[in-house]
Point group: C2
Chain length 277, copies 2
Protein backbone atom coordinates (compact mmCIF):
# COMPACT_ATOMS: atom_id res chain seq x y z
CA UNK A 1 0.00 0.00 0.00
CA UNK A 2 1.45 3.38 -0.99
CA UNK A 3 1.61 5.98 1.75
CA UNK A 4 -1.03 8.71 1.64
CA UNK A 5 0.09 12.31 2.16
CA UNK A 6 -3.01 13.00 4.25
CA UNK A 7 -2.04 10.40 6.82
CA UNK A 8 -0.47 11.48 10.10
CA UNK A 9 3.18 11.48 11.11
CA UNK A 10 3.89 8.95 13.88
CA UNK A 11 6.29 9.82 16.70
CA UNK A 12 7.37 7.61 19.58
CA UNK A 13 9.53 8.02 22.64
CA UNK A 14 10.16 6.08 25.85
CA UNK A 15 8.19 8.75 27.68
CA UNK A 16 7.62 12.46 27.75
CA UNK A 17 10.92 13.81 26.38
CA UNK A 18 10.02 13.22 22.75
CA UNK A 19 7.52 16.05 22.98
CA UNK A 20 10.44 18.41 22.31
CA UNK A 21 10.55 16.84 18.84
CA UNK A 22 6.77 17.25 18.44
CA UNK A 23 7.17 20.93 19.31
CA UNK A 24 9.67 21.37 16.47
CA UNK A 25 7.56 19.30 14.05
CA UNK A 26 4.60 21.58 14.73
CA UNK A 27 6.83 24.57 14.01
CA UNK A 28 8.26 23.25 10.74
CA UNK A 29 5.25 21.24 9.57
CA UNK A 30 2.24 23.05 11.04
CA UNK A 31 -0.35 21.41 8.78
CA UNK A 32 0.64 17.83 9.53
CA UNK A 33 -1.42 15.59 11.81
CA UNK A 34 0.69 13.85 14.45
CA UNK A 35 0.11 10.70 16.50
CA UNK A 36 2.51 10.48 19.46
CA UNK A 37 3.14 7.43 21.60
CA UNK A 38 5.02 7.71 24.92
CA UNK A 39 5.84 4.37 26.53
CA UNK A 40 5.48 5.72 30.06
CA UNK A 41 4.74 2.32 31.60
CA UNK A 42 8.13 0.92 30.57
CA UNK A 43 10.25 4.07 30.71
CA UNK A 44 13.26 4.44 30.92
CA UNK A 45 14.88 2.65 27.97
CA UNK A 46 18.42 3.93 28.51
CA UNK A 47 19.32 1.42 31.22
CA UNK A 48 18.01 -1.60 29.33
CA UNK A 49 19.54 -4.11 26.92
CA UNK A 50 19.72 -3.96 23.13
CA UNK A 51 17.28 -6.83 22.72
CA UNK A 52 14.69 -5.24 25.01
CA UNK A 53 15.02 -1.79 23.42
CA UNK A 54 14.60 -3.38 19.97
CA UNK A 55 11.50 -5.27 21.10
CA UNK A 56 9.91 -2.16 22.65
CA UNK A 57 10.74 -0.06 19.58
CA UNK A 58 9.17 -2.57 17.18
CA UNK A 59 6.04 -2.75 19.37
CA UNK A 60 5.81 1.05 19.44
CA UNK A 61 6.18 1.25 15.65
CA UNK A 62 3.47 -1.40 15.18
CA UNK A 63 1.15 0.60 17.44
CA UNK A 64 1.70 3.77 15.39
CA UNK A 65 1.12 1.88 12.14
CA UNK A 66 -2.43 1.13 13.31
CA UNK A 67 -3.04 4.82 12.54
CA UNK A 68 -1.63 4.36 9.02
CA UNK A 69 1.16 6.83 9.78
CA UNK A 70 3.04 7.88 6.63
CA UNK A 71 6.38 7.99 8.44
CA UNK A 72 7.73 7.26 11.93
CA UNK A 73 9.92 9.66 13.88
CA UNK A 74 11.93 7.92 16.59
CA UNK A 75 12.24 10.82 19.03
CA UNK A 76 14.02 8.75 21.67
CA UNK A 77 17.82 8.88 21.46
CA UNK A 78 18.16 5.41 22.99
CA UNK A 79 15.74 3.80 20.49
CA UNK A 80 17.34 5.73 17.63
CA UNK A 81 20.81 4.53 18.68
CA UNK A 82 19.85 0.90 19.05
CA UNK A 83 16.84 0.07 16.90
CA UNK A 84 16.72 2.47 13.95
CA UNK A 85 18.28 0.10 11.43
CA UNK A 86 16.04 -2.76 12.54
CA UNK A 87 12.96 -0.58 12.02
CA UNK A 88 14.20 0.71 8.66
CA UNK A 89 15.00 -2.82 7.49
CA UNK A 90 11.57 -4.12 8.38
CA UNK A 91 8.98 -1.43 7.83
CA UNK A 92 7.97 0.17 4.54
CA UNK A 93 7.24 3.60 6.00
CA UNK A 94 10.21 5.98 6.19
CA UNK A 95 11.77 5.92 9.68
CA UNK A 96 13.58 9.04 10.91
CA UNK A 97 15.77 9.05 14.03
CA UNK A 98 17.45 11.80 16.02
CA UNK A 99 21.06 10.61 15.73
CA UNK A 100 21.83 11.64 12.16
CA UNK A 101 20.29 15.14 12.48
CA UNK A 102 22.09 15.74 15.80
CA UNK A 103 25.40 14.53 14.43
CA UNK A 104 25.08 16.75 11.36
CA UNK A 105 24.37 19.82 13.48
CA UNK A 106 27.34 19.04 15.74
CA UNK A 107 29.75 18.70 12.82
CA UNK A 108 28.56 21.88 11.19
CA UNK A 109 28.93 23.78 14.47
CA UNK A 110 32.39 22.53 15.58
CA UNK A 111 35.43 24.59 14.69
CA UNK A 112 38.06 22.61 16.57
CA UNK A 113 36.71 19.28 15.30
CA UNK A 114 36.32 17.97 18.86
CA UNK A 115 32.78 16.84 19.60
CA UNK A 116 31.39 15.56 22.90
CA UNK A 117 28.39 13.28 23.32
CA UNK A 118 26.32 12.74 26.47
CA UNK A 119 23.46 10.26 26.69
CA UNK A 120 22.02 7.25 28.48
CA UNK A 121 24.18 4.18 29.11
CA UNK A 122 22.59 2.35 26.16
CA UNK A 123 23.10 5.28 23.78
CA UNK A 124 26.75 5.75 24.75
CA UNK A 125 27.53 2.01 24.64
CA UNK A 126 26.01 1.75 21.15
CA UNK A 127 28.50 4.31 19.72
CA UNK A 128 25.73 5.32 17.29
CA UNK A 129 26.66 9.01 17.42
CA UNK A 130 30.35 8.28 16.74
CA UNK A 131 29.50 6.20 13.66
CA UNK A 132 27.14 8.86 12.31
CA UNK A 133 29.63 11.66 13.00
CA UNK A 134 32.35 9.83 11.06
CA UNK A 135 30.05 8.92 8.18
CA UNK A 136 28.67 12.44 7.79
CA UNK A 137 32.06 14.12 8.23
CA UNK A 138 33.57 11.88 5.55
CA UNK A 139 30.85 12.52 2.97
CA UNK A 140 29.71 16.07 3.73
CA UNK A 141 32.52 17.83 5.63
CA UNK A 142 35.73 16.26 4.26
CA UNK A 143 37.85 19.18 5.52
CA UNK A 144 36.77 18.29 9.10
CA UNK A 145 36.97 14.51 8.73
CA UNK A 146 40.69 14.00 9.34
CA UNK A 147 40.85 16.08 12.50
CA UNK A 148 37.54 14.83 13.97
CA UNK A 149 37.78 13.67 17.59
CA UNK A 150 34.89 12.45 19.73
CA UNK A 151 34.51 12.00 23.49
CA UNK A 152 31.45 10.39 25.03
CA UNK A 153 30.08 9.95 28.54
CA UNK A 154 26.87 8.49 29.93
CA UNK A 155 25.15 10.69 32.51
CA UNK A 156 22.53 8.46 34.17
CA UNK A 157 21.66 10.87 36.98
CA UNK A 158 20.69 13.72 34.62
CA UNK A 159 17.30 12.16 33.79
CA UNK A 160 16.39 11.70 37.47
CA UNK A 161 17.55 15.23 38.32
CA UNK A 162 15.50 16.69 35.47
CA UNK A 163 12.45 14.67 36.55
CA UNK A 164 12.94 15.75 40.17
CA UNK A 165 12.80 19.32 38.84
CA UNK A 166 16.22 20.26 40.26
CA UNK A 167 17.05 22.19 37.11
CA UNK A 168 19.07 25.06 38.57
CA UNK A 169 20.34 23.46 41.70
CA UNK A 170 23.68 23.12 43.51
CA UNK A 171 23.37 19.31 43.54
CA UNK A 172 22.77 19.20 39.79
CA UNK A 173 25.71 21.53 39.25
CA UNK A 174 27.97 19.28 41.34
CA UNK A 175 26.85 16.20 39.37
CA UNK A 176 27.32 18.07 36.08
CA UNK A 177 30.85 19.12 37.08
CA UNK A 178 31.79 15.52 37.70
CA UNK A 179 30.21 14.15 34.52
CA UNK A 180 31.39 16.95 32.24
CA UNK A 181 34.98 17.56 33.38
CA UNK A 182 36.26 15.23 30.64
CA UNK A 183 34.84 17.54 27.95
CA UNK A 184 36.73 20.52 29.35
CA UNK A 185 39.93 18.48 29.55
CA UNK A 186 39.55 17.36 25.95
CA UNK A 187 38.59 20.88 24.83
CA UNK A 188 35.47 19.92 22.90
CA UNK A 189 33.64 22.88 21.36
CA UNK A 190 30.39 21.13 20.46
CA UNK A 191 28.41 18.89 22.81
CA UNK A 192 25.52 16.69 21.65
CA UNK A 193 22.74 16.53 24.27
CA UNK A 194 21.94 12.94 23.34
CA UNK A 195 18.83 12.44 25.47
CA UNK A 196 15.56 14.33 25.22
CA UNK A 197 15.67 15.23 28.92
CA UNK A 198 19.01 16.98 28.80
CA UNK A 199 17.87 20.25 27.20
CA UNK A 200 16.04 20.92 30.50
CA UNK A 201 19.49 21.07 32.14
CA UNK A 202 20.95 23.35 29.45
CA UNK A 203 21.57 26.21 31.89
CA UNK A 204 23.54 24.10 34.35
CA UNK A 205 25.45 22.29 31.58
CA UNK A 206 26.26 25.62 29.93
CA UNK A 207 27.42 27.21 33.18
CA UNK A 208 29.71 24.26 33.97
CA UNK A 209 31.26 24.11 30.49
CA UNK A 210 31.49 27.87 30.00
CA UNK A 211 31.06 29.87 26.83
CA UNK A 212 32.46 28.72 23.56
CA UNK A 213 30.81 25.30 23.69
CA UNK A 214 27.85 24.81 21.40
CA UNK A 215 25.11 22.64 22.99
CA UNK A 216 23.39 20.61 20.27
CA UNK A 217 19.79 19.52 20.77
CA UNK A 218 18.65 17.17 17.97
CA UNK A 219 14.94 18.10 18.06
CA UNK A 220 15.07 21.00 15.62
CA UNK A 221 17.30 19.21 13.11
CA UNK A 222 15.11 16.13 13.37
CA UNK A 223 12.04 18.16 12.38
CA UNK A 224 13.91 19.64 9.42
CA UNK A 225 15.05 16.16 8.38
CA UNK A 226 11.45 14.92 8.61
CA UNK A 227 10.31 17.75 6.36
CA UNK A 228 13.04 16.87 3.85
CA UNK A 229 12.10 13.18 3.85
CA UNK A 230 8.40 13.91 3.34
CA UNK A 231 9.23 16.35 0.54
CA UNK A 232 11.47 13.81 -1.17
CA UNK A 233 8.85 11.08 -0.87
CA UNK A 234 6.10 13.47 -2.04
CA UNK A 235 4.30 12.93 1.23
CA UNK A 236 3.93 16.51 2.48
CA UNK A 237 0.39 17.26 3.51
CA UNK A 238 -1.24 19.78 1.17
CA UNK A 239 -3.99 20.82 3.59
CA UNK A 240 -4.03 24.47 4.54
CA UNK A 241 -5.30 23.99 8.07
CA UNK A 242 -3.54 23.39 11.37
CA UNK A 243 -2.73 19.73 11.98
CA UNK A 244 -4.38 17.62 14.69
CA UNK A 245 -2.23 16.26 17.53
CA UNK A 246 -3.17 13.01 19.27
CA UNK A 247 -1.25 11.54 22.20
CA UNK A 248 -1.16 7.99 23.55
CA UNK A 249 0.70 6.71 26.61
CA UNK A 250 1.05 3.30 28.22
CA UNK A 251 0.70 4.68 31.77
CA UNK A 252 -1.51 7.30 33.43
CA UNK A 253 -2.48 10.07 30.94
CA UNK A 254 -2.95 12.86 33.51
CA UNK A 255 0.61 12.71 34.81
CA UNK A 256 1.92 12.76 31.25
CA UNK A 257 -0.26 15.75 30.41
CA UNK A 258 1.04 17.79 33.33
CA UNK A 259 4.74 16.89 33.05
CA UNK A 260 4.61 17.00 29.25
CA UNK A 261 3.54 20.61 29.09
CA UNK A 262 7.04 21.92 29.72
CA UNK A 263 8.47 19.73 26.95
CA UNK A 264 5.79 20.57 24.37
CA UNK A 265 5.52 24.23 25.34
CA UNK A 266 1.72 24.15 25.23
CA UNK A 267 -1.16 22.23 26.80
CA UNK A 268 -1.63 18.59 25.86
CA UNK A 269 -5.14 17.78 24.75
CA UNK A 270 -6.56 14.62 23.26
CA UNK A 271 -4.62 12.08 25.27
CA UNK A 272 -5.48 8.42 25.84
CA UNK A 273 -4.05 5.34 27.46
CA UNK A 274 -2.87 2.45 25.28
CA UNK A 275 -2.46 -0.69 27.35
CA UNK A 276 -1.38 -3.38 24.94
CA UNK A 277 2.32 -3.01 25.73
CA UNK B 1 -5.85 -27.61 44.29
CA UNK B 2 -4.24 -27.68 47.72
CA UNK B 3 -0.75 -26.25 47.99
CA UNK B 4 2.06 -28.79 48.22
CA UNK B 5 4.78 -28.20 50.81
CA UNK B 6 7.43 -29.39 48.35
CA UNK B 7 6.59 -26.62 45.90
CA UNK B 8 8.84 -23.56 45.71
CA UNK B 9 8.32 -20.13 47.24
CA UNK B 10 7.75 -17.44 44.58
CA UNK B 11 9.29 -14.00 44.97
CA UNK B 12 8.94 -11.01 42.65
CA UNK B 13 10.35 -7.52 42.51
CA UNK B 14 10.50 -4.74 39.94
CA UNK B 15 14.19 -5.54 39.49
CA UNK B 16 17.22 -6.55 41.44
CA UNK B 17 16.52 -5.09 44.90
CA UNK B 18 14.23 -7.93 45.97
CA UNK B 19 17.27 -10.18 46.19
CA UNK B 20 17.83 -8.73 49.68
CA UNK B 21 14.62 -10.56 50.63
CA UNK B 22 15.82 -13.77 48.96
CA UNK B 23 19.03 -13.52 51.00
CA UNK B 24 17.00 -13.46 54.22
CA UNK B 25 14.66 -16.22 53.03
CA UNK B 26 17.68 -18.45 52.40
CA UNK B 27 18.89 -17.66 55.91
CA UNK B 28 15.58 -18.38 57.66
CA UNK B 29 14.28 -21.09 55.33
CA UNK B 30 17.40 -22.78 53.94
CA UNK B 31 15.63 -25.91 52.68
CA UNK B 32 13.02 -24.09 50.60
CA UNK B 33 13.24 -23.90 46.81
CA UNK B 34 12.77 -20.36 45.51
CA UNK B 35 11.71 -18.99 42.12
CA UNK B 36 12.51 -15.28 41.75
CA UNK B 37 11.21 -12.97 39.05
CA UNK B 38 12.77 -9.51 38.52
CA UNK B 39 10.87 -7.33 36.05
CA UNK B 40 14.03 -5.65 34.80
CA UNK B 41 12.54 -4.70 31.41
CA UNK B 42 9.87 -2.51 33.03
CA UNK B 43 11.72 -1.32 36.15
CA UNK B 44 11.21 1.06 37.98
CA UNK B 45 7.67 0.77 39.35
CA UNK B 46 7.89 3.61 41.87
CA UNK B 47 7.23 6.39 39.37
CA UNK B 48 4.25 4.70 37.75
CA UNK B 49 0.51 4.78 38.36
CA UNK B 50 -1.60 2.54 40.58
CA UNK B 51 -3.29 0.89 37.62
CA UNK B 52 0.00 0.06 35.91
CA UNK B 53 1.64 -1.23 39.11
CA UNK B 54 -1.42 -3.42 39.71
CA UNK B 55 -1.29 -4.78 36.18
CA UNK B 56 2.44 -5.55 36.37
CA UNK B 57 2.05 -7.18 39.81
CA UNK B 58 -0.75 -9.46 38.63
CA UNK B 59 1.29 -10.46 35.56
CA UNK B 60 4.29 -11.22 37.77
CA UNK B 61 2.17 -13.33 40.14
CA UNK B 62 0.70 -15.25 37.19
CA UNK B 63 4.20 -15.95 35.91
CA UNK B 64 5.29 -17.34 39.31
CA UNK B 65 2.17 -19.48 39.53
CA UNK B 66 3.32 -21.36 36.42
CA UNK B 67 5.89 -22.90 38.79
CA UNK B 68 3.12 -23.95 41.20
CA UNK B 69 4.61 -21.74 43.92
CA UNK B 70 3.06 -22.44 47.33
CA UNK B 71 3.16 -18.76 48.32
CA UNK B 72 4.19 -15.45 46.76
CA UNK B 73 6.48 -12.94 48.46
CA UNK B 74 6.10 -9.43 47.06
CA UNK B 75 9.62 -8.16 47.74
CA UNK B 76 9.00 -4.81 46.03
CA UNK B 77 7.83 -2.06 48.39
CA UNK B 78 5.95 -0.28 45.61
CA UNK B 79 4.02 -3.42 44.56
CA UNK B 80 3.39 -4.29 48.21
CA UNK B 81 2.03 -0.79 48.87
CA UNK B 82 -0.26 -0.70 45.86
CA UNK B 83 -1.20 -4.20 44.78
CA UNK B 84 -1.02 -6.52 47.82
CA UNK B 85 -4.73 -6.50 48.56
CA UNK B 86 -5.63 -7.05 44.91
CA UNK B 87 -3.33 -10.09 44.80
CA UNK B 88 -4.64 -11.44 48.11
CA UNK B 89 -8.24 -10.99 47.00
CA UNK B 90 -7.70 -12.84 43.75
CA UNK B 91 -5.17 -15.61 44.25
CA UNK B 92 -5.53 -18.68 46.46
CA UNK B 93 -1.85 -18.89 47.37
CA UNK B 94 -0.81 -16.90 50.46
CA UNK B 95 0.67 -13.53 49.44
CA UNK B 96 3.21 -11.89 51.75
CA UNK B 97 4.33 -8.27 51.32
CA UNK B 98 7.08 -6.20 52.92
CA UNK B 99 4.93 -3.42 54.40
CA UNK B 100 3.44 -5.22 57.39
CA UNK B 101 6.77 -6.76 58.54
CA UNK B 102 8.58 -3.43 58.14
CA UNK B 103 5.88 -1.55 60.00
CA UNK B 104 5.92 -4.06 62.86
CA UNK B 105 9.70 -3.78 63.22
CA UNK B 106 9.49 0.04 63.22
CA UNK B 107 6.85 0.12 65.96
CA UNK B 108 8.70 -2.33 68.13
CA UNK B 109 11.91 -0.31 67.77
CA UNK B 110 10.56 3.22 68.33
CA UNK B 111 10.72 4.67 71.83
CA UNK B 112 9.46 8.17 71.08
CA UNK B 113 6.60 6.87 68.91
CA UNK B 114 7.77 8.99 65.99
CA UNK B 115 8.38 6.94 62.85
CA UNK B 116 9.70 8.14 59.50
CA UNK B 117 9.09 6.47 56.14
CA UNK B 118 11.10 6.93 52.96
CA UNK B 119 10.18 5.29 49.66
CA UNK B 120 9.33 5.78 46.00
CA UNK B 121 6.70 8.32 44.99
CA UNK B 122 4.09 5.59 44.52
CA UNK B 123 4.82 4.02 47.92
CA UNK B 124 4.64 7.34 49.76
CA UNK B 125 1.50 8.48 47.93
CA UNK B 126 -0.25 5.20 48.78
CA UNK B 127 0.13 5.80 52.55
CA UNK B 128 0.34 2.00 52.92
CA UNK B 129 2.97 2.18 55.67
CA UNK B 130 0.93 4.71 57.68
CA UNK B 131 -2.16 2.48 57.56
CA UNK B 132 -0.21 -0.59 58.60
CA UNK B 133 1.59 1.28 61.40
CA UNK B 134 -1.73 2.45 62.83
CA UNK B 135 -3.37 -0.94 62.51
CA UNK B 136 -0.49 -2.82 64.13
CA UNK B 137 0.02 -0.22 66.87
CA UNK B 138 -3.67 -0.36 67.75
CA UNK B 139 -3.83 -4.14 68.00
CA UNK B 140 -0.35 -5.12 69.16
CA UNK B 141 1.24 -2.08 70.84
CA UNK B 142 -1.70 -0.21 72.42
CA UNK B 143 0.62 1.70 74.75
CA UNK B 144 2.30 3.25 71.68
CA UNK B 145 -0.85 3.78 69.63
CA UNK B 146 -2.03 7.09 71.08
CA UNK B 147 1.33 8.85 70.77
CA UNK B 148 2.21 7.41 67.32
CA UNK B 149 3.31 10.04 64.79
CA UNK B 150 4.45 9.35 61.23
CA UNK B 151 6.37 11.48 58.73
CA UNK B 152 6.94 10.36 55.16
CA UNK B 153 9.02 11.57 52.24
CA UNK B 154 9.66 10.21 48.76
CA UNK B 155 13.33 10.13 47.77
CA UNK B 156 13.34 9.53 44.00
CA UNK B 157 17.07 10.20 43.50
CA UNK B 158 18.18 7.54 45.98
CA UNK B 159 17.55 4.68 43.54
CA UNK B 160 19.57 6.35 40.76
CA UNK B 161 22.40 7.20 43.16
CA UNK B 162 22.51 3.61 44.43
CA UNK B 163 22.49 2.29 40.85
CA UNK B 164 25.24 4.74 39.86
CA UNK B 165 27.25 3.22 42.72
CA UNK B 166 27.77 6.55 44.49
CA UNK B 167 27.20 4.92 47.86
CA UNK B 168 29.61 6.92 50.01
CA UNK B 169 29.78 10.09 48.05
CA UNK B 170 29.54 13.83 48.78
CA UNK B 171 26.74 14.22 46.21
CA UNK B 172 24.72 11.44 47.82
CA UNK B 173 25.29 12.99 51.23
CA UNK B 174 24.08 16.39 49.99
CA UNK B 175 20.95 14.79 48.49
CA UNK B 176 20.37 12.82 51.70
CA UNK B 177 20.67 15.97 53.81
CA UNK B 178 17.98 17.65 51.77
CA UNK B 179 15.61 14.68 51.72
CA UNK B 180 16.09 13.72 55.35
CA UNK B 181 16.12 17.07 57.16
CA UNK B 182 12.41 16.74 57.90
CA UNK B 183 13.06 13.61 59.99
CA UNK B 184 15.58 15.44 62.16
CA UNK B 185 13.16 18.33 62.61
CA UNK B 186 10.37 15.99 63.62
CA UNK B 187 12.72 14.00 65.86
CA UNK B 188 11.81 10.55 64.53
CA UNK B 189 13.75 7.71 66.17
CA UNK B 190 12.86 4.94 63.72
CA UNK B 191 13.08 5.25 59.93
CA UNK B 192 11.61 2.70 57.55
CA UNK B 193 13.83 2.21 54.46
CA UNK B 194 10.79 1.61 52.26
CA UNK B 195 12.55 0.62 49.04
CA UNK B 196 14.84 -2.34 48.50
CA UNK B 197 17.61 -0.10 47.13
CA UNK B 198 17.89 2.10 50.20
CA UNK B 199 19.82 -0.31 52.45
CA UNK B 200 22.75 0.23 50.04
CA UNK B 201 22.77 3.87 51.22
CA UNK B 202 22.53 2.94 54.91
CA UNK B 203 25.93 4.46 55.74
CA UNK B 204 25.11 7.85 54.23
CA UNK B 205 21.59 7.90 55.67
CA UNK B 206 22.94 6.95 59.08
CA UNK B 207 25.66 9.59 58.99
CA UNK B 208 23.16 12.33 58.04
CA UNK B 209 20.62 11.37 60.70
CA UNK B 210 23.15 10.63 63.43
CA UNK B 211 22.98 8.01 66.14
CA UNK B 212 19.81 7.23 67.96
CA UNK B 213 17.77 6.61 64.83
CA UNK B 214 17.00 2.99 64.06
CA UNK B 215 17.05 2.23 60.31
CA UNK B 216 14.46 -0.44 59.51
CA UNK B 217 15.00 -2.71 56.53
CA UNK B 218 11.96 -4.94 55.91
CA UNK B 219 13.83 -7.87 54.33
CA UNK B 220 14.61 -9.79 57.51
CA UNK B 221 11.14 -9.32 59.01
CA UNK B 222 9.57 -10.33 55.72
CA UNK B 223 11.50 -13.63 55.76
CA UNK B 224 10.38 -14.29 59.34
CA UNK B 225 6.78 -13.50 58.38
CA UNK B 226 7.04 -15.91 55.43
CA UNK B 227 8.26 -18.63 57.76
CA UNK B 228 5.34 -17.96 60.12
CA UNK B 229 2.80 -18.08 57.29
CA UNK B 230 4.18 -21.35 55.91
CA UNK B 231 4.21 -22.85 59.40
CA UNK B 232 0.61 -21.79 60.01
CA UNK B 233 -0.54 -23.17 56.67
CA UNK B 234 1.45 -26.37 57.21
CA UNK B 235 3.46 -25.64 54.10
CA UNK B 236 7.01 -25.72 55.45
CA UNK B 237 9.24 -27.91 53.35
CA UNK B 238 10.33 -31.02 55.27
CA UNK B 239 13.32 -31.81 53.04
CA UNK B 240 16.66 -31.84 54.78
CA UNK B 241 18.69 -30.55 51.86
CA UNK B 242 19.58 -27.06 50.69
CA UNK B 243 16.88 -25.44 48.56
CA UNK B 244 17.32 -24.70 44.85
CA UNK B 245 17.24 -21.07 43.70
CA UNK B 246 16.04 -20.17 40.20
CA UNK B 247 16.00 -16.63 38.81
CA UNK B 248 14.05 -15.15 35.92
CA UNK B 249 14.26 -11.62 34.54
CA UNK B 250 12.47 -9.78 31.75
CA UNK B 251 15.64 -8.04 30.50
CA UNK B 252 19.25 -9.14 30.00
CA UNK B 253 20.23 -11.89 32.51
CA UNK B 254 23.98 -11.12 32.60
CA UNK B 255 23.54 -7.56 33.82
CA UNK B 256 21.16 -8.78 36.53
CA UNK B 257 23.62 -11.47 37.60
CA UNK B 258 26.44 -8.99 38.03
CA UNK B 259 24.50 -6.19 39.74
CA UNK B 260 22.44 -8.68 41.76
CA UNK B 261 25.44 -10.18 43.47
CA UNK B 262 25.74 -7.32 45.95
CA UNK B 263 22.06 -7.59 46.89
CA UNK B 264 22.06 -11.37 47.26
CA UNK B 265 25.48 -11.58 48.89
CA UNK B 266 26.50 -14.56 46.74
CA UNK B 267 26.78 -15.48 43.05
CA UNK B 268 23.59 -15.83 41.02
CA UNK B 269 23.41 -19.07 39.09
CA UNK B 270 20.55 -20.57 37.12
CA UNK B 271 19.17 -17.39 35.58
CA UNK B 272 16.96 -17.11 32.49
CA UNK B 273 15.11 -14.48 30.52
CA UNK B 274 11.31 -14.47 30.56
CA UNK B 275 9.98 -12.36 27.71
CA UNK B 276 6.23 -12.59 27.93
CA UNK B 277 5.82 -9.33 29.84
Amino acid sequence: MAQDKNNPIGVFDSGVGGLTVVKQLVKYLPCEDIVYFGDTARVPYGTKSTKTIERFSVENALFLLRFKVKCIVVACNTSSSIALKLLQDNFKAPIIGVIEPGAREAISSTKAGRIGIIGTSATILSKAYESELKRIAKSEFPQKYLSLKTVSKSCPLFVSLAEEGWLNDPVTKQVAKRYLSVFKQKKVDSLILGCTHYPLLKDVIGSVLGRGICLVDSARQCAIETKNVLYREELLNTKKQKGVLRFFVSDEPNKFASSGRKFLGSAIKCIRRHEDV
